[in-house]
């Protein structure tokens, strides 16, 4: 009798309704619709700029932008800028992940630390981090330490705040169960609080990386001689408009790649949530 149970208790498979067959179904295809409209906008852009003869100083044609993009990569200047920017973003951001998660767990598990940290977070978090750039330049100059600090500061707040939230939202029943199974306080932190906070921590990491990218590019625009932000600014200064667009394309692509990688990691980490 009990052997039948696993099957009997399984939820029945819900029949998925069969999609109605339709001749014009490609219009309902989200992928086709999405990419198609992008292609349409580029096409209209190309045609109207050619037809109206608008100066490429204001609005270069998409084909000119592509040529500029390949040209900049061919001379090696653009991927040097890209690598410099990526390095600046990810070193500061990487440090922020470790420091932020550790700090968040500490704040969430200690009443005293929370009382102290709450004040500082309440004061510093609402401050737009770009406004710290002048002060940081005074203190650190415009070199590596400055860039690293700005990237770190962008990422750390969302990571700390989301880690605290995640840990505090942990089901107290799970902590009791772990204690019951003999877990030490350290084991409870590492084996229960941390894994249960992972979705929230990851949401913080996602937000933090976004802010880091913005801050590093903005800082490069202000002080840099190297990096995508600097390239963008300098190209604008000398009215190389198609280069400005080329850098924007690189930045947009960077954003897309980062989002996709995060989605992928999210799915990997969240197997138990989606199952």
């Amino acid at each position: 009798m009990p052997n039948d149970l696993p099957l009997a208790e399984q939820t029945p498979i819900v029949e998925t309704p069969v999609a109605p067959a339709s001749a014009s179904s490609w219009l309902d295809n989200e992928r086709v619709l999405g990419w198609g409209s992008v292609a349409l906008v580029i096409l209209v852009w190309e045609i109207t700029t050619r037809a109206t003869g608008v100066s490429p100083l204001y609005l270069p044609r998409p084909t000119q932008i592509v040529v500029a993009l390949f040209g900049m990569f061919a001379t090696g200047e653009l991927h040097k800028d890209l690598l410099v920017t990526l390095w600046r973003i990810f070193v500061g951001f990487g440090i922020a992940i470790f420091v932020g998660t550790a700090l968040g767990i500490w704040i969430a598990t200690s009443v005293r630390v929370r009382a102290i940290a709450d004040m500082f977070i309440a004061m510093l978090y609402p401050l737009p981090k770009v406004t710290l750039i002048p002060l940081l330049i005074i203190w650190l100059g415009t070199g590596g330490p400055f860039m690293l600090t700005i990237s770190f500061l962008g990422a750390i707040f969302p990571i700390v705040i989301n880690t605290v939230l995640g840990v505090r939202q942990c089901d107290p029943g799970l902590v009791l169960a772990a204690r019951d199974l003999g877990a030490t306080p350290q084991q409870i932190v590492r084996r229960v609080l941390l894994p249960s906070a992972i979705p929230s921590i990851f949401a913080g990491i996602r937000l933090g990386l976004g802010v880091s990218i913005i801050l590093v590019v903005a800082a490069e625009m202000v002080v840099g001689k190297l990096g995508l932000g600097a390239r963008l600014y300098l190209s604008g200064q000398i009215l190389e408009t198609e280069q400005v667009f080329a850098v924007l394309i690189v930045l947009a692509t960077l954003g897309i790649v980062v989002t996709k990688v995060q989605d992928f990691i999210d799915v990997k980490l969240g197997r138990w949530r989606l199952a």
Partner: protein, 269 residues
């Protein structure tokens, strides 16, 4: 399998102090004994302190009066704190771990080598008929299956004292019946001293060797009843005349207390 341990409760009381309101007396002068290797059910209305008593036994709460001690039967000595494990009403499975990882969790914390803990976890999973589901996540299981994981996770620790905190409270009636039969067999063979906290008179009679009936707050012991119905017990047991007599006796004692608790629950909630 494990050393038989009795639990002696003498003059146990617990009062929760409160700054704004009058202190809450959760337990008052509780005297009872949990026999070694037997299942003792604690039954009573909501808020009578059954679960509080369980928490004191587990060492998660300290009594303000009296004492609760563990006595090793073989040596007659008072034991420190025996190996204990709890089965929870809310299952409390770790959602990010698979079935086998959940079951092996306590062994892993204790530093049991991987091969051994895997083997023991598989044995426990087999004992609750969940073989084939080792690598599923709790989300993918029904309520009844999740609680069987909970039972396996507790039994794999080979506890001398097993605490069952309304283990079937969150399950539907049919699943509960089947699991009651299964648990009763498992507990019998393990030789563990079990405390079963329940709201269900039926569950208490089907699973327990002794039933302790508790009053509404402040929790006190009203009655202690030995259940001598033959084992294994099953749904068919509920047709026995002795079952009906026991049910009536317990229901008679609980009726007023439960009614009062229900009025408080529906009115106060």
């Amino acid at each position: 399998m494990s050393a038989a341990v009795a639990i002696e409760v003498e003059g146990l009381g617990l009062t929760f102090a409160s700054q704004s309101e009058a202190p809450t007396i959760a337990l008052q002068d509780v005297n009872c004994r949990f026999e070694p290797g037997k299942v003792t059910a604690l039954i009573g209305p909501s808020g009578c302190g059954k679960s509080t008593l369980l928490q004191i036994a587990r060492g998660f709460l300290n009594p303000t009066r009296g004492r609760l001690r563990f006595v090793e039967i073989a040596s007659g000595k008072v034991a420190e704190r025996p190996a204990m494990a709890t089965v929870w009403q809310a299952f409390n499975l770790f959602p990010w771990l698979t079935v086998i990882e959940n079951v092996a969790f306590g062994l892993e914390l204790a530093g049991v080598p991987r091969a051994e803990r895997d083997a023991r976890a598989r044995k426990a999973i087999l004992a609750v008929d969940l073989n084939g589901f080792e690598n599923k996540f709790p989300r993918q299981l029904s309520g009844g299956m999740r609680q069987r994981v909970g039972i396996a996770r507790a039994l794999v620790m080979e506890p001398e004292v097993l605490l069952l905190d309304e283990p079937f409270g969150a399950l539907d009636a049919q699943t509960r019946l089947v699991l009651q039969e299964q648990l009763s067999k498992l507990v019998e063979t393990s030789g563990t001293t079990a405390i079963l906290v329940t709201h269900s008179i039926e569950e208490a009679i089907l699973l327990a060797d002794k039933i302790i009936v508790m009053s509404a707050r402040p929790g006190r012991v009203c009655d202690q009843i030995n259940v001598t119905l033959p084992r294994p017990r099953s749904y068919a047991t509920t047709h026995e005349p002795e079952y009906a007599a026991l049910f009536d006796r317990i229901y008679g004692q609980l009726r007023d207390e439960v009614m009062q608790a229900m009025i408080i629950e529906s009115g106060g909630g």
